[in-house]
Symmetry: C2
Subunit: 232 residues, 2 copies
C-alpha cells in the first residue's frame, strides 16, 4: 500500500487530499490551520495540525516513512522551501512541490524535488488543446505526433457498423470506445425546470458489428495527421 | 477558423495564449500591462493593451466577433466580474472564466459564463489519480467506470505477441498503443554528465503480431475493474 503525505491544504492540496483519500492509498494531511484539518479529517487516514517547518513535529508523525511527500504550499514560498529541504534530508523517495512561477520551480528542482507542478500552466495548456480542436470534446497527447481524441460522431458515420467503416484501413485510426448518452425519460413539467441535467453517459466497448448512433461521442486513437483528415 | 479572445495574461492566460497561438486558431490577447503584451505579441495574431472593464475599448478591437472569450483574470475578482458582464451582453457564444474559489465559480455561472475553470482543483485531482495508481504512468477517465491507463509492461507480458496475450478475451482490456523508449546511443563521457535526457519515445500502433518489449509503456482501455486485475 502506497503512502502519501500532503503538506498544505490550499485549493490544490485539499482537492488532492479528497480525491486521493477516496482511493486505497494511505494519506496523511498536514496543515497549521485547525479549520482545514477539521474539514479534511474524515476524508483521509490521518490529519494533523502542525507547523511543517518544524522538523521534530514532522518526524513525530512518521513522515520519514511515506513513499511520496507533496509540498502543496503556494504563496508562502519560504515555508515551502524549508519544508522541501527538511523532507529531502529524511530521504523520502518522491518529493512533489507546487510552484508559483518558473523561477520557484527551478529552485525546488535544485534543492531536491523529484517533480514540480504549476497548476495554472497545466490548466492553461490543457484548455488550449481543447479550444484548438473545437469539434473535439477532449484531446490527449499519447506521444509525439499521436493523440487520443473524443469527437462527436460525423454524420457520414451514423448508422454504419465498425466493420463497414473500416476505420483502420480507410483512415488509419482506431476506435477504442464509444460514449453514448442514455436517453432521458420524459419527466413531468415541474421537475424539468430545474438545472439542466447532464445526460448520463454509457460506456460502450465497440465490437465489429456495433452501429454508430447519432449523438455518439467517439474515442479514437491515431496519428495527428490521420485524425485531422476525419470527416467533421 | 475559430477565434478566441484571452483577457488577462497571468500564468494561466499566458500559457493558454502561447499554446493556442501555435495552432490554427485566431487568438487575440488583451492585458493592461505593456510588458506582458510585448511578451505575447509574436505568439498570437493580435495583442492589445487596454483596460478590459472599458466596454468601448473592447468593442474597438472587435471582441464581439469572437467564438470564445476566456476571462483569465485571477486575483482581481471585480475586474473579472465586470468583464464577464460586458462580454455576456455582447452575445459571445462561449465565455470561459477562471475562478479563484467555488463561490466565485458559482457567481460566474450565474452571470452567464458557459464554463468555469479552477486550475488548482484541476491539477490537484489529476495528481491524485496519478498517485492513486503508482504503477500507472498516467490515468484518464473515459466515462463512468471506464479508463485509459498507461502502465509499464508487466513482466508476464514481455516477449509475448498481442495475439498470444489475448488481452480482450483473457482480461477484457484493449491495448491501443505502445510507447516505446528509443535506445539512446552511447555518448562520450563529458556530454553525459549534463542533465539526464528524457529517452525519446516512439509511438507504435500494435498489430496482432507485435511483441511486447521490456521498458514498453502500454496504453490500455477497459473497465476499471478489469484494469485493476492486470498483473503488475
Ligand atoms: N508552516 C506551515 N505549516 C503548515 N501549514 C502551512 C504552513 N504555511 C502554510 N501552510 C498552509 O499551506 C496551505 C496553502 O498555502 P498558501 O496559502 O501559501 O497557498 P495557496 O497558494 O493559497 O494554495 P492554493 O493555490 O492551493 O489554494 C494553507 O492552508 C496554509 O495554512
Ligand atoms: N482591468 C484589467 N484590464 C486588463 N487586464 C487586467 C485587468 N485587471 C487585471 N488584468 C490582468 O490580468 C492578469 C491576471 O490577473 P491577476 O494578477 O488578477 O491574476 P492571477 O491570479 O495572478 O493570474 P494567474 O494565477 O493566472 O497567474 C494580469 O496580467 C493583469 O495585468
Amino acid at each position: 500500500m502506497q503512502s502519501v503525505a500532503i503538506i498544505g491544504l490550499g485549493r490544490f492540496g485539499i482537492s488532492l487530499a479528497k480525491e486521493l483519500g477516496s482511493s486505497s492509498t494511505q494519506v496523511i494531511a498536514i496543515d497549521r490551520s485547525t479549520h482545514l484539518i477539521n474539514e479534511i479529517k474524515e476524508h483521509v487516514d490521518l490529519a494533523v495540525k502542525l507547523d511543517c517547518t518544524d522538523q521534530d513535529a514532522l518526524l513525530s508523525q512518521g513522515i520519514d516513512k511515506v513513499d511520496v511527500c507533496v509540498v502543496a504550499i503556494g504563496e508562502n514560498f519560504e515555508a515551502a522551501l524549508l519544508t522541501t529541504v527538511i523532507v529531502k534530508k529524511l530521504n523520502i523517495p518522491n518529493i512533489i512541490c507546487r510552484a508559483q512561477s518558473k523561477y520557484h520551480a527551478e529552485i525546488f528542482m535544485q534543492i531536491g524535488a523529484t517533480r514540480v507542478i504549476q497548476p495554472e500552466i497545466e490548466s492553461g495548456t490543457h484548455l488550449a488543446k481543447q479550444l484548438a480542436n473545437p469539434h473535439l470534446k477532449d484531446f490527449i497527447t499519447l506521444a509525439e505526433g499521436f493523440s487520443l481524441v473524443e469527437l462527436s460522431a460525423p454524420d457520414a458515420f451514423i448508422g454504419k457498423s465498425l466493420l463497414g467503416l473500416k476505420l483502420r484501413k480507410e483512415f488509419g485510426v482506431n476506435l477504442i470506445f464509444i460514449k453514448r448518452p442514455v436517453p432521458i425519460e420524459e419527466t413531468d413539467e415541474e421537475t424539468s425546470t430545474e438545472t439542466t441535467v447532464e445526460p448520463e453517459i454509457e460506456g460502450v466497448f465497440p465490437m465489429a458489428t456495433e452501429l454508430i448512433q447519432e449523438n455518439d461521442i467517439l474515442v479514437l486513437v491515431g496519428s495527428n495527421a490521420s485524425l485531422s483528415k476525419l470527416p467533421k
